[in-house]
């Protein structure tokens, strides 16, 4: 069981992510968008969305630090207690900001008629997994530091070691199996979220337009060479007036 969960599943998820992104990039450029609902509602979005996203950046950064940097490296600079205190404070603040942001966004999505109508089943599933990942992440941070018998648990000696072992394709299943239940649950939900990315609107995260900083303002492009133009077939984006935003298929 441990081998399946911590030795096989992560690779399956990674494969899904990579293959899914490649598939989506090749076949669904037109569907690759943030699908903003700002046109319908702006006030709550303007607070909730930045709160969530900036919170998420800090959270992701914290994950990378905690998972990638071996404990004995930081031990040379600061004590475990200081590290833990910093990580716990920053992590909790960011996590709570993130959660508050998404709570606001979900409230907005549910109560603003037009936004709710534009919410697909895919979105709903994504929200459930995303919120679960966040909530269990905070739970793991706050309570995952001790085993049920009261002995101390440091995820950087279990989860992080396992995570780094995955990177070099030598999965240290045992290290992960040593971790607490809270972390295990959080990781499983996290894996589900990662697997979901290519197939949900989360995909927009993979086209963060950083190249904007470097490109010229005015872009000249030659007329497209031949592209077949179906004159009869249904073309995406051309659904008749009255088709609702969440109607399937044609995004």
């Amino acid at each position: 069981m441990d081998i399946l969960l911590w030795g096989v599943l992560p690779y399956l998820v990674a494969l899904t992510l990579i293959a899914g992104l490649a598939w989506r990039y090749r076949y669904d450029q037109f569907g690759w968008t943030t699908r903003s609902s700002q046109l319908y509602e702006s006030k709550m979005l303007k607070i909730g969305s930045p709160l969530f996203h900036y919170g998420l950046f800090v959270v992701l950064g914290g994950h990378l630090l905690g998972l990638l940097i071996p404990k004995d490296w930081t031990d040379r600079v600061i004590t475990q207690e200081t590290y833990h205190a910093i990580a716990l404070t920053a992590g909790t603040i960011a996590g709570v900001a993130c959660l508050a942001g998404i709570a606001m966004l979900i409230y907005r999505r549910r109560t603003t008629g037009a936004v709710f109508l534009a919410t697909t089943k895919n979105d709903k599933l994504m929200y459930v997994v995303l919120v679960a990942a966040l909530v269990f992440g905070i739970i793991a941070t706050l309570t995952g530091g001790t085993y049920p018998d009261g002995t101390e648990h440091n995820y950087r000696e279990t989860v992080s070691i396992w995570f780094r072992s995955l990177m070099v394709f030598q999965p240290n299943v045992h290290a992960m199996a040593e971790s607490t239940l809270q972390f295990k649950v959080h990781i499983l939900i996290g894996l589900a979220l990662i697997a979901l990315i290519p197939f949900s609107r989360l995909v927009h995260a993979f086209t963060v337009p950083l190249h904007y900083v470097f490109r010229p303002y005015v872009i000249y492009r030659s007329r497209d060479s031949h592209t077949p133009t179906p004159s009869q077939a249904r073309v995406r984006g051309w659904d008749p007036v009255g088709t609702t935003d969440k109607d399937k298929g044609q995004r």
């Binding site: 319908y40 008629g113 005015v218 007329r223 592209t227 077949p228 995406r236 659904d239």
Partner: protein, 535 residues
């Protein structure tokens, strides 16, 4: 760096002829935005001025932050902020019109008219929101204040009137809004220095190097919505269903085969002119950065003389086909803008170098004179009135010359002189050279201008070269394609979708269409026999 010469398709609209019938808007909507997600979108809209426009008060750049501003050092920057600022605020676009600034699109519950149970009351078709599907109260639309309708309630919201009023220190009586009115049809300006493009984080908006048409690559747009803030004309729209930006395409599939845009083709007043101009893309930025009062001249200077041998040589060196150079020489747009200097850019102060220009309307002045019982076509009356009627002139100047009334007055005087001069010709009272001299034109030029403005035929109004012939086969649907009817590629997607790009344009082959029409017309001409003039 050697000078380059590129072509730009441009449009001129003669506002004197616009009767505000909205045919252009309707045909455009039927052609391009009659689909889910774009119900509220009008690539072409006709506004009544004075009025708020669509979306409401889009000209208030203090609020909407569109276009460029000149920095103290003479550079240009986006009014909405630099690149980093844009990236940092990407999670919720800070300034963006909401649906309430456009309007909530609606339909009617027509079915109720036939399915309502028998009763004493007439069944009614209630308005239903196309966004929520709920019953809705219609409170606004793209032309709610059409022909000054409801101006009593909305006139204070016209950003230009607001500005003029503030400048004239409240001296302007409120009833003057009734004293003039004209229509302003608007499409995308296909700017030479587009701020939408500069705002796009994904780099999805591009300018076609062959004809300067500005398009959104639907595959590369990720829906960050910065272009909507960036465009000061608010002519980029968010498709709330596909999550992508959309805009006027200048009907590029038609332009490519030499046909005018749908709005131009269907214009009842025949007020639109289409043609190409030549310009040097490397000179655009400098021209867009000059002080405000020099913008009009800078923009004129940007348009190169298509008869200049040096320009022709450079154009050829850049690979421009001869038919394009000839089209540039015949361009009615170039003639109206640069030769006769009667067309003006819309809001040059946004510094985007717009490519849809307007001949300002003389009619508010003429109408007023007539209403007051004067001979509205006598030169003295007209010239005097243009000077005396500061308000319409100032209003027009705010629209077309960043407030410079001198340029607008000159244009109106030319139009007035043409009116009086041609009246003399028509009535046989002679060619009054005092009139042409007064506006610095020769009688020949005056009559040329009259022909172009008053009686130009289809082929004179629309001088559009075909897309390069050597690439022309690209425009056809390939006969052997699998995408033909019944072929395996007919439908958009298999289980894994279809590789390549979905194109939101369902086209017939326009060249074939044009040929068919020409044949049909030739047939009809043959049947009607010799002696009868063809229309």
């Amino acid at each position: 760096m050697a000078k380059r010469v590129m072509a730009q398709v441009a449009m001129v609209m003669n506002l004197d002829k616009c009767i505000g019938c909205h045919t252009c808007s309707v045909t455009c909507k039927q052609a391009w935005t009659n689909r889910a997600g774009t119900e509220y979108v009008w690539f072409n809209n006709v506004e009544t001025r004075p009025g708020q426009g669509y979306p409401r008060r889009y000209e208030d750049q203090d609020k909407w932050r569109g276009g460029w501003v000149r920095t103290p050092s003479g550079g240009l920057k986006l009014r909405a902020g630099g690149r980093l600022q844009k990236l940092l605020s990407i999670f919720a676009s800070p300034v963006q019109p909401g649906l309430e600034d456009y309007y909530e699109p609606w339909t009617y519950d027509y079915e109720n008219l036939t399915s309502a149970p028998l009763g004493d009351d007439f069944p009614v078709a209630r308005p239903k929101s196309l966004i929520t599907g709920e019953n809705t109260a219609i409170t606004w639309s793209a032309n709610w204040d059409d022909s000054l309708g409801g101006i009593e309630a909305t006139r204070n919201a016209d950003p230009i009137l607001e500005k003029l009023r503030a400048e004239s220190n409240e001296k302007i009586r409120t009833d003057y809004e009734k004293s003039f009115m004209f229509f302003l049809p608007r499409i995308c300006e296909h700017c030479l220095n587009p701020s939408c493009m500069a705002s796009c984080p994904s780099g999805a908006i591009y300018k076609r190097s062959e004809d300067g048409i500005v398009l959104v690559d639907q595959d590369r747009c990720r829906g960050w919505r910065q272009c909507i803030t960036g465009c000061p004309y608010k002519k980029i729209y968010f498709n709330h269903r596909s999550g992508k930006a959309e805009k006027c395409t200048f009907c590029y599939p038609r332009i490519e085969v030499g046909l005018p845009t749908v709005c131009a083709e269907t214009c009842v007043g025949r007020l639109r002119y289409l043609g190409i101009i030549l310009y040097d893309p490397d000179a655009v930025l400098a021209a867009a950065s000059v002080p405000e009062e020099e913008l009009y001249q800078a923009q004129l200077d940007l348009m190169l003389d298509p008869n200049d041998p040096e320009v022709i040589a450079l154009a050829r060196a850049g690979g421009m086909a001869d038919d394009w150079i000839i089209a540039a020489q015949r361009s009615p747009v170039y003639a109206l803008i640069k030769h006769f200097k009667v067309a003006l850019p819309l809001h040059p102060e946004y510094r985007t170098m717009p490519m849809v220009w307007y001949i300002p309307p003389l009619s508010p002045v003429v109408d007023l004179l007539r209403d007051q019982g004067h001979d509205a076509e006598a030169a003295g009356n007209l010239f005097g009135a243009i000077d005396a009627l500061r308000i319409p002139v100032e209003y027009l100047a705010e629209l077309f010359t960043a407030g410079d009334t001198k340029v607008v007055t000159e244009v109106l005087q030319k139009l007035a002189a043409m009116r009086s001069y041609m009246r003399g010709v028509t009535l046989g009272t002679g060619r009054d050279t005092a009139l042409t001299d007064a506006v610095g034109m020769t009688p020949e030029a005056m009559e040329q201008m009259f022909r172009l403005l008053a009686i130009a035929k289809y082929d004179d109004r629309y001088v559009i070269p075909n897309a390069h012939r050597e690439q022309a086969h690209n425009l056809e649907e390939l006969a052997c394609s699998l995408d033909s009817d019944g072929g395996p590629g007919q439908y958009e997607s298999g289980p894994f979708g279809q590789p390549g790009r979905p194109i939101p344009v369902a086209l017939e082959t326009y060249a074939a269409l044009k040929e068919r029409r020409a044949e049909a017309e030739a047939d009809m001409a043959g049947q009607s026999g010799a002696g009868k003039a063809t229309p």
